[in-house]
Structure formats: structure tokens, C-alpha cells
Symmetry: C2
Subunit: 278 residues, 2 copies
Amino acid sequence: MQLEKISENKVAGGWHQRWQHDSSTTNGKMTFAIFLPEKAKEQPVPVLYWLSGLTCTDENFMQKAGAFKQAATLGMAIVAPDTSPRGEGVADANQYDLGQGAGFYVNATQAPWQSHYQMYDYVAYELPELIESHFAVNNQRAIAGHSMGGHGALVIGLRNPSRYSSISAFSPICHPTECPWGKQAFSAYLGDDEQTWQAYDATVLLAQGPTAMPMLVDQGDKDGFLAEQLNPQALKQAAEKHNSPLTLRMQPGYDHSYFFISTFIDEHLAFHATRFAR
Amino acid sequence: MQLEKISENKVAGGWHQRWQHDSSTTNGKMTFAIFLPEKAKEQPVPVLYWLSGLTCTDENFMQKAGAFKQAATLGMAIVAPDTSPRGEGVADANQYDLGQGAGFYVNATQAPWQSHYQMYDYVAYELPELIESHFAVNNQRAIAGHSMGGHGALVIGLRNPSRYSSISAFSPICHPTECPWGKQAFSAYLGDDEQTWQAYDATVLLAQGPTAMPMLVDQGDKDGFLAEQLNPQALKQAAEKHNSPLTLRMQPGYDHSYFFISTFIDEHLAFHATRFAR
């Protein structure tokens, strides 16, 4: 598996790097970004995987979240994959909420998507294996994300409790089988049998039984997508049903943007840091 | 003077807002962004003016610098103007380093630029007057910037010592009369008489005599523009000639990007905060 470095910038005493590689899971080139704190020069560090939202690439979080100082202080790497496969030969829909930039972190089963859109397996398995074999990190993992990526973080984390020590999300799509974004994406990628959608819905997963996975969710109450798409109350009810450890914080005045994320990202990193094994 | 709000986001307990207004100085519509900390609800706060570099708008700093938490802690507003006039009827050169997005913070005297490109007067006079009459700020001002904007901050601050309490810059164009970017821009905007260029060159200004203005400059030593365009050593020599209070810090490994700025912006804000009158 060959890794090609696209760029590198020193930041907060550590390094932000962008890499490209051939993915056997998505059957094409994938791009990701990594922040390596200075501490990684001395010893392997834990990794927070960050999954971005609709229209994003590996760059949005790295340029806008303002997370590097806190990650450097806590001695934590951050890895941000792209939000879908891309490039020639990769199916697209010419809309912002389906196709390239909108992989929804599922393994597609339907044409024309299934040949490349295997983002669940890519994020949960191939990418961590790649990161852990090429960078100065250990196998302690946390997962977080925003909006579509918050959905991805919750689903991948809840379905792989032995692989992640904590989950956090900003403005996640909490119940995609019941909102327009999710229904459209799951219909396209997974087909009409709604039973196959269940495994990709964090609210459904939490309703099925208890989990010990620590979860932190921040949601702005001035988020324009809150009413129609996000459903944090459904997630909360599902967690309460089994006393699962979800903290949902409604943040007054905040919207869906990276201005919101940048305000609370330090608290999310601290949340994950305390849950890595010491 | 009518102000039109373009957008607003809550961030770090305060507000990021974008505004448009008719400028009598640049003879057209101008856009700026402002960060107002929560403290501005209780009392007027001082203002840091941030001048961006080539190709930037009001948005780059606000999205990428990660300055809001520190500004909120220090109780400081930040105002980021656009880097030039824009729009229909505004001259342009279809290149990244001249015309729209590249006003160089001068008052142009040459056609076709002089009817709109009056960025020196806009930043030094019209914009502060507008800000101080419409927002919860006082008349304590600091000025900072990056690259072309670092040049602008040094020149505007040094020429108006009664109006600003401190200056800082990242990777500034320190001696524009002697570098390719500056020569091209000053030839176009100011004409062939190089005597008229002198008032817009921070190194020339510092060489003319002592100043009490506190100045902080950070420069990455892996900056691809350092050798040909930036000349921080010339600035330092001019300051040392008269014992003017310039601190120049060469930062090992850092480049010309916002990753660099985001690493040290908190220190710049603290530098300015200690120099505002208490």
C-alpha cells in the first residue's frame, strides 16, 4: 500500500500532512489528512478520527476547527479522511447531498455506487490499519464528526465498541432512516429494503440495547438543519431507554458551522483524552 | 452610511458578523467582518484591525486563524476588511498579485486604479470611524496583518502612532520598494516616481527616525516567499538603527500559511492586549 505525501505544514509544534493512497476498499485513490503532535516524535500517540459532513473533504476540519493546540497539549493525533471516493470513474449525482462528497459512511450495495462507495469499511478498518502501520500512533482510537460525519462517527463507534474508546459529534444526523437526507442516501446506496438501513442508524442501534461507549454530542439550537434533519432528541431517548452514557448538550445561539465546532472542539478532545487508556 | 448585515454566527460566546456598506473612500461597496466578544455586551471593547494578504477576503482570517477564544478571553473585538475594492466597474488585472484582492493598502494615484483603490485611507480612517460609530467598541486600536497585510499594518500603524497602540505582523512584506511584489504594485498604483513609494515602505519609515510603537513580527524560516519577497532583516536593521521597539521572531519550520498564523495568533492578541490603555 503506497502512500504519497501531498503537502506538509508545521502547526502548533507538530505537523499537518495530506496524503493520498490506493484503497483496496473503495477501489481507487483516497485522500486523508493527519495532524501529528510533537509528542509523536517521542512515543506513539492515540488517534482521534474526524469524519466531516456533506460537501467537505479532508481539509475543512484541518483549516477551520482550530483543534491543533489542544491536540498538541493532549498529545493526540487527528486523522480526517475524505467524505467519499472521488475522481474519474466514481459515480456521482451532481447534487450536494448524494454521491461525491456525500458517502454517508455506508457500504453501498446498489449500482452504480457499490463499486467504490464502501466508506464504512474504509473508515472503520482500512484507514486505521494504514495509519497504525505508517505513523507514530498506537491503537487507541476515538471517533468524532460533524453532521453526516457525526452520524458516521456514532454508527462506526457503536458497531465497533472494542475498536474505539469514545465517540463525539457536533450536530449529527442522529436518525437517518427518518430524515430526508438519510432516506435519500440510504435509498440510493442501500436500496428499497429498509431493513438494510437499520445498521446505519445510531438511534436504532442505541434502541436495540445498552452500550458502555461514552458519547458526547453538541447541538446548536439555531442550527437551520435541526428541525428537519438532525433529531438529537430521538438519539437521547434511545440512549435513556437503556441508560447508555450519552451526554447531549443543546448550545444556545449556535448554528451548523465550523464557528460552532471551533468553540467546543477543545472540550471534545479533552473528553476523548480522558477515555484513552493511561 | 448604511450598513447591511450579510451573515452572523455565534462563536466562542461572541459573534462573528459580515457586513457590507457604501464607502465614500473607495467609491463603492466594501465588505468587512467583525468578531464581537461577549464582553462587548457590557462595555465598549478595544479593536484589533486585521489586514489579510494577497487573494484574501474578509473571510480567511475569520475562518482559519482560530483567534476567537483568545479574543473572547481578552475582551477584544477583531475587524477584518477586504483586501481591495471589488465588483463591476472596479479595475482588475486578472493576476493574483495586482488589482482585486491585492490593494496593497495604498492610495492609488494612477489610472485606472485611483478611482477605487484608496485602501490606505479606507483602513486608517473610514473603517475605524464606521466601526466606532456602529459597534460596542472604544477608540483603542491595534493593527496586525499577514504578508501584504503585514506590510499594510506596519505602514498604517507607523504613520499613525496616535491612532494605534501596537502593531504586529506575520510574514510581512517588510521592504516593498525592493521586492518584486512591491515594485509591481507600487509601479501600477503609484506610478514611476519612486519617491512616492517611500511613504508605503515600513523599512524606509523605520529608517527615517525612532518610534515608540511596540512591534511584534513572526516569520517562518520555511516560508517559500522569504528569500525573494519579505526582507525581515531589512526591517530589523532599520529598527535597530534608532532603537525602535521591534521584536522579530524567526520561527523554525513554519511556512507562509494560516497553519503558522493559527500557531502564534494567541500570542499576538496578548501582545496587543497588554498595550491597550487600562
